[in-house]
């Protein structure tokens, strides 16, 4: 588990975008070797998408040989509804970059057979060779995608009925009318995310400080699923560290020079230092 503590949420956006940039460019994707990216929606990653679009426009990155898989989508919400994740992804990211629409995968919440849709999604991920980097956020209760606390660590892509808490939290996106909030969603499972070669979690704001504490300082726990993730890098702002012990924060901050190397264009993931024999 790596934890990168940035001063502000803006810097979380920049850091995470730079990390994606470096991972894709180091991978050197080509027609025979696609980079496979797992993507989230929501307020937290918005800044990261903006930065990636900026880098694309500055020709620092191309998405021509990138395949994407999104985490989740509401069931029976029209695809062009402003709260649908299809709408979010198209308008906040895809329409601004050079990705081939054939390489974009978002669960179809209007599919006639939802179970089949979920199974097909898992198969497509396998066919693509698995996910190289899965980016996600977590909710104040620790949920990732629509995997609410208590979801099995072995869960796969499936139909989920949303908890009352989630419906209430989402009502603000549907004119504060809870009856308009879709009560089902398709979501990747915790197991689907954990299978990725690497997971990057973005956490900002003091309201998520407790979730970060649970993910880092407590034991592995399926009520706080991020705690169970292997090969994870968490990017957070100062506010999100409020519930952490001083010792924990100081430990990770002391590693910041190492972490900085992760996003430098010529940086290596592991620092080597030659020790002189005198």
């Amino acid at each position: 588990m790596r934890l990168v503590i940035c001063d502000t949420a803006d810097y979380v956006a920049e850091w995470s975008a730079k990390y994606v940039l470096k991972r894709i460019n180091d991978f050197q994707p080509n027609p025979d070797k696609y980079f496979v990216l797992g993507l989230p929606t929501g307020g937290t990653p918005l800044g990261m998408y903006k930065k990636l679009i900026e880098y694309y426009k500055a020709r620092k990155i191309s998405f021509k040989y990138v395949k994407t898989f999104n985490m989740d989508e509401y069931v029976d919400l029209p695809r062009d509804h402003p709260e649908s994740y299809h709408y979010y992804m198209y308008n906040n990211f895809f329409k601004h970059i050079d990705i081939d629409p054939e390489n974009v995968h978002i669960l179809d919440g209007n599919a006639p057979d939802l179970v089949k849709e979920c199974d097909d999604f898992e198969n497509k991920i396998s066919e693509a060779g698995g996910i190289e980097l899965f980016i996600g956020g977590i909710g104040p209760d620790g949920h990732i995608a629509f995997n609410e606390p208590g979801s099995s660590l072995a869960s796969r892509t499936r139909v989920k009925t949303l908890a009352q808490d989630t419906l209430e939290a989402n009502a603000r996106f549907f004119g504060n009318d809870i009856s308009k909030v879709p009560n089902q969603a398709l979501t990747v499972g915790v197991g689907t995310v954990m299978d990725a070669k690497e997971v990057m979690i973005l956490i900002t704001g003091s309201h998520k400080a407790f979730a970060l504490y649970k993910a880092i300082e407590e034991g592995i726990n399926h009520m706080w699923t991020v705690s169970a993730f292997p090969r994870t890098i968490i990017i957070c702002d100062e506010d999100a560290t409020l519930e952490l012990r001083v010792k924990t924060v100081k430990y990770f901050k002391a590693l910041s020079a190492t972490h900085q190397k992760l996003i430098q264009e010529d940086g290596d993931a592991i620092l080597r230092r030659s020790i002189q024999n005198n």
Partner: protein
């Protein structure tokens, strides 16, 4: 266009577009001459555009629509009786230089023989490389003059106080022909507080809710005083339609011309009766009218553009396909710079005129 051309998907990028009363930082996608929804294409068809056109930061507006134009470039629609179609085609082509992609050739009040000769020879046309689209508008005295030849007519101007006006209006409405009030003594005399005449209609409380009264105004800086434009804009901006009312002298170079019975002289952009200082009709260019209107009223870019696009389209009831950049509308567009100067004109997504080295080819 061949079948293959029709399938070409074009993306205009690096531009702003006027849509839903807002200027948006959006791309415009066109296929088969229509504006299409790129999000649908992205998810359903999963294809990328075949052609990408860099607009260099231009503002894209729907093409201008001129509801009242009597001629131009030496052609007078009412007097060129013998080669009607030729004259209209010439004007349609040249109007592209002013950003006009649709217009109503207007016939001024004439003896009935004139109408009988002209009307059957004008047909509603879709625009293209040959010129702007057109529909017909004209004024006349009584319906019997015209009976039987109204099928090519979309708008009729008449004086409401004439006998039988009410029954004529009812008859025209039945045929889906728009009725415009004018030629009236009411608009010849000055506005009076006890008898506001046609101007009074702009703030009338007798208009059905949801109905908008549209009115044309020539914003060429000559025919209408800036204060009149400001009054119009402030009292009833939603119904304001910019028209040119241009005559045959529109677009002519400096010099003396024989137009019909009249000898005219073009001097510093205006048409005078030769050898005098008497103006002989409007030579207003629509793109200039839009800029002038914005400048003197201080209105927003959106308001100025809509007065030459959405409002005239709404007047004719064609706002689903013309005067807007909504999905499904015709891709008749103009590209403008930030001062609303015309850069290029496009009909059905094809560049038909450009004022600079644009990337249209």
């Amino acid at each position: 266009m061949s079948r293959e051309d029709q399938q070409i998907l074009k993306q205009f990028y690096n531009c702003c577009i006027l849509r839903d009363g807002k200027i948006l930082n959006e791309d415009l996608w066109v296929r088969d001459g229509k504006i299409v929804d790129p999000e649908k294409i992205f998810y359903d068809e999963k294809i990328k555009p075949h052609v990408r056109i860099d607009c260099n930061g231009a503002l894209i507006s729907p093409g201008y629509i001129d509801l009242q134009i009597n001629g131009g470039f030496g052609v007078d629609f009412t007097h060129n009786i013998n080669n009607v179609q030729e004259g209209i085609n010439k004007v349609a082509k040249r109007l592209l230089e002013f950003g006009v992609t649709s217009f109503c050739p207007t016939l001024v009040t004439s003896p009935s023989e004139t109408y009988h000769k002209i009307l059957p020879n004008i047909k509603k046309t879709k625009g293209g490389k040959h010129g702007a689209a057109f529909d017909i508008m004209y004024g006349f005295k009584s319906l019997t003059d015209m009976y039987g030849s109204l099928e090519n007519v979309c708008l009729v101007t008449l004086a409401p106080e004439l006998p039988n006006a009410q029954s004529v209006i009812t008859e025209l409405c039945k045929r889906n022909i728009i009725v415009s009030l004018g030629h009236s003594v009411a608009n010849l005399k000055e506005f009076h507080h006890r008898d506001p005449g046609l101007v009074g209609l702009l703030t009338s409380d007798q208009v059905y809710p949801g109905k908008t009264i549209h009115y044309g105004i020539i914003a060429d800086g000559i025919h209408t005083h800036p204060a009149a434009l400001r009054i119009a804009h402030r009292t009833h901006p939603k119904g304001l339609v910019l028209v040119t009312d241009a005559l045959s002298a529109l677009g002519l170079q400096e010099g003396v011309y024989q137009l019909g019975q009249l000898k005219i002289e073009m001097r510093s952009g205006h048409a005078y009766i030769a050898g005098t200082n008497t103006l002989c009709g409007s030579t207003a260019e629509m793109s200039k009218c839009v800029r002038h209107f914005k400048e003197v009223t201080g209105c927003s870019i959106v308001e100025a553009l809509e007065a030459a696009t959405l409002h005239p389209a709404t007047t004719l009831g064609i706002e689903k396909t013309k005067g807007v950049l909504n999905y499904g509308a015709d891709a008749d567009i103009v590209m403008l710079n930030k001062d609303l100067e015309l850069l290029s004109t496009w009909i059905s997504g094809e560049c038909v005129h450009c004022n600079y080295k644009c990337n249209c080819q």
